[in-house]
Symmetry: D2
Subunit: 360 residues, 4 copies
């Protein structure tokens, strides 16, 4: 009885239910850029998902996302016996809801093929129906003609790559022809270290998306503080064009669980924008380092090689949204030194944390 019989606006879904309050994830902007929280891989009943498109906007709103793309499969539509529709239809249905909710909705589709080349998402489309082609290269060319941003989804999905995550000649071809600009380094909860390396080596954009099919709550426990896997996009402004430009220029990072995955320049900037570090010399033998974390990120620090006369923690966790103080002891009369550590959950290389130094 949450529906008014006669005058239901599509937009209503966001405003009527009690719990539909806009969420907020505190992630800092970077100098010159606004950080957008994005999910570019989402399904609805118009392919093999299980919810109506408006639900995807309500979810994004509740979770505090900035931009999403509904990327229903072109070639896999198990509900087609009941739902006959253009490949543009899920976008059309979600668009007014997204507008009302203040969510950027980017038109996309999933080109869904056996491996190689596997599944790829094409974003910023103008007509998804053009991608419905028998030959996969025709589908990619149709996307390219629409100036799409195309990326490889879940490159290590065990249903397609049962034992190893391989790069095929077909991927080289797509890359060379400008039809693969990025890869999902994380899909759902699964991280692909090989893809991480490929992105670094081949200068590809790193993405992380939910690939949600069911209601999002069946996949993430938000009450336990979880967030969906998302791509952080460092855009010049909050617009579709801003997202597109950022994706093409590889200004992204992936946020999955407690991990951030990306190029060092962005992870370092996120770390430094998230944290205020204040150093106070207590006396000749001790210094107090206060971390004020203004973000929802957690940071796991682990001491690395250093002057052992500078005595501090071996492992240390900086919690979200709080202030914590660490005491550093100066031994044998030293006046200061380098406090070296790795931030274990900021992956700047496959499964490798980011080194950082605080000058004491």
């Amino acid at each position: 009885m949450k529906r008014t019989f006669l005058c239901m606006l599509a937009v209503g879904v966001l405003l009527q239910a009690a719990a539909q309050v806009r969420g907020k994830i505190d992630i800092p902007n970077l100098p010159g850029y606004v950080t957008l929280k994005c999910d570019f891989h989402i399904h609805t009943v118009f392919s093999d998902g299980n919810v109506w498109p408006a639900v995807r906007i309500a979810e994004a709103y509740r979770e505090g996302l900035d931009a999403v793309s509904i990327t229903d499969h072109i070639e896999y539509r198990p509900h087609a016996g009941d739902i006959k529709a253009s490949h543009n239809r899920s976008f059309e249905l979600a668009e007014p809801v997204a507008k009302a909710a203040g969510i950027l909705l980017i038109k996309g589709s999933e080109i869904t093929r056996a491996m190689p080349p596997g599944h790829h998402n094409a974003l910023f489309l103008t007509d998804s129906d053009e991608l419905d082609q028998p030959d996969y290269m025709d589908a990619f060319r149709a996307a390219q003609k629409q100036d799409a941003f195309i990326f490889w989804n879940h490159p290590g999905w065990d249903a397609q790559q049962p034992d190893t995550t391989l790069w095929f000649p077909e991927h080289t071809r797509l890359l060379e022809q400008g039809m693969m600009m990025g890869i999902e380094v994380v899909n759902g909860e699964e991280y692909f270290p090989e893809a991480h390396q490929w992105c670094l080596d081949k200068k590809l954009t790193m993405l992380g998306n939910s690939d949600v099919h069911d209601p999002i709550q069946a996949q993430y426990n938000f009450d336990k503080g979880a967030h969906r896997t998302m791509t952080l996009v460092f855009a010049r402004d909050v617009s579709t064009q801003g997202v597109k430009e950022a994706l093409r220029e590889r200004r992204t990072a992936v946020y999955c669980g407690e991990r951030l995955i990306g190029e060092e320049r962005y992870l370092k900037a996120l770390f430094e924008q998230a944290l205020d570090i204040k150093i106070v010399k207590v006396n000749n033998a001790s210094v107090r380092v206060t971390f004020t974390n203004n973000s929802d990120f957690v940071f796991h620090l682990k001491k690395t090689a250093h002057d052992t006369r500078l005595v501090y923690f071996r492992e240390y966790t900086i919690q979200p949204k709080g202030e914590q103080t660490v005491t550093v002891r100066l031994q044998e009369g030293i006046q200061g030194g380098d406090m070296n550590f790795s931030i274990e959950n900021l992956l700047v290389q496959p499964n490798r944390g980011m080194d950082y130094t605080i000058k004491i």
Copy 2:
């Protein structure tokens, strides 16, 4: 990436996602009857709901329900531009999933009319399409011909009854012609005390249902211990026939938040089956009463008129699944007496708790 591309069984939705563990709500059986947790008012994309039918079974499974009925509107189908289907279709799609999950799925539909007579659900249908009739009485007759159990939904819904909950002559007619056997005393979180009284006076079955349209988690916060509003059915066995017989014989109670609503004989039986009460005389001046609550129910007790030489709590809460002890003092040499209280959240009459006495 939670889907296998080629071999997706409808049943898969229950088994693949990590969180899909069968839930459990501890509610006692009654002597001679098994207590079934049921929701007889549910929508999908086949009317104005926002999820695919299989999701409703996954939800019921996760929450530990025993039986559900998907009751899409006959007359209100806002997604009809995209989905062309028989009124039987949501049942057909959900049926194999329900079977695999061990959930009783009862075929139903919602006859959706202006007030009077408002909305009514018909359960145990054989062909929902027969209910698609211009005249509402023809729709009711078609349901009756299929030997349906028919009940009035949300009688006090403010969109149809803005100021008062009224019984119209049309309802008398339905009742007299055997086409209204029950009423939703609770719909979603809304309780209708007038309907509660009508059920008592006119010997109608009391029901409480979720009327869920969106993913159920948007309506209930299960992580905070919430459960959906449900009808408890005291059936001879776990079968569609068992449910039908129980509904016809008014063997139900409504479970909504912390409240139980129903006839005294059933609420009393639930209370007594849920609780072990042990009385131990400590000495001449005090007695210890230990409550062992084996159920998920909470009970809010409030002292009523009593011999004031028997001294005990004024208000007391028995928590779910635990053991709690109360000390009763005997003053002025009395040897015992009646410990009288009302169980405030067991409503045996509109907004009135159930009286109970423990002999000390």
Copy 3:
């Protein structure tokens, strides 16, 4: 291993543990006043509580309280066999921790007597030891001499008032001699409607406190969104003097679960400061009323007598921290009218909600 062996500062308890982030409860200030969240009834191991005083400050910090008073019993000290200390000791131990944490700590004690007069808290003491007197009137006089604010605790506690909440001649005497300025209208989760009425009639300050003995988490489930029962104090500034003046001038309200209890002028002001109400005429037949709730309060609205041509909800809940829109229909050509309702959980009289009107 959360302790450094040699250099533990009392203050450390707040800074070292991971979860020790300052909480935040969003409650609006009132024009001319800052709203302070206070708990004036707290125990430690120095009477019959079970935690060290510093824990009480850490709890207050984590929960976002502004001011607390540790009010250990003068006459009841079950741990006295192990702990020998002045009645000032728990304050002394907590004071530096409170200072470091930015919590106002008000020195207090509980005068703990059989009924009448029962238990009373004295706040703003300078020397608690002076209250340790054989005759209760001497204890009250000692508090008065220190210019204390004295209030009656849990007037309807069933251990002292088993069946009814009575006002004794002793209370009249305390009141007349200026030794009772307020009453706990709520203690823990228990609300005393009789005390609510006495406060209104006798112009006494209304208080609500936790009376916590165990670790606070054993009493409140913060993860489910609970908050401890607290006194909201409308002070001119954030200072002990500001709290004292406000208490003496009855500028308080009680916040317990979802309920606010207090004088209408304060509850009305809280409601209006918490909420932005925007009215937009859609057309001749309907008006949209948008509530933006900037607070953590929930408001339960229930329609009261009104022009029935103005059609709106029967019951409606405004959730915390969000924006919700209600549609009001204008029938039979009316241009507007009074939207009347009671806010059921804002108690301006015993068990009675606050009436409110929005002009359409």
Copy 4:
């Protein structure tokens, strides 16, 4: 107001508060042994903890532990200015509460020295005061004379071992003289892989304890499903003697977060007792493997070297308390084979998961 003024039994703390329901952690017994959940490292106000001893029993009860030891520091008592007591006192105060709650309470103390030898716990003491000795070896000898079980606490605590976890000659001496029988492989959330290796090499008992000082909820978020770090003891019966014998015979495993740490024979037995594995051949090309997990453990599986014609997941998580099915494909006409994987969170060697094979 949760206390009765006159008749407070120590035992009361467990029975009176609403939330004091005995918790339950589902961990299987092993053939011939009952699995006891134990925490052997706990502090109270009688050393540098912040709660009264009874609170520790209430916590253990609520969390479903079987046995605890309160191990207040002998040499570090920062509250000694207020609390003068024998080192036996916290045990004496907790003992009747433990008895009433059905928790095994083992008398213990922490010998608290600079490194080397660092901190050590002695369990099964008869008189803790005997351990109060100027020379640490005298303290160890006093414990040994009482037939204590002695183990090294947090060997890699950065306050004592700032950069590396070292084994000192003093430890060899303690070991050789039979005064070190075990080591904390985990203390709080911190895992010491070096200690893990020492236990394997030197045949020492592995322990994991909370070392809790504050109320336990400040350290663990139980509402998010956390459990305290604990030692699983495989005892012949539920008795102090049973625990002692098991500790001496190294029948333990450590349970910390999602990880189990221990000897392979015990982790393998836990895995096999926790899980029912059912293998059903669907047809010549596929086999269904159903895992029924009856425990609260989660298991993270990762494929290892195998015949690649047997196609299955790369990574897979078996959730607690549920049933999950995996499809294994048989390619190129094979009839079966070995499904090999490592259980990543079952550490049988430092930071190394346990290999396992299911025959298909």
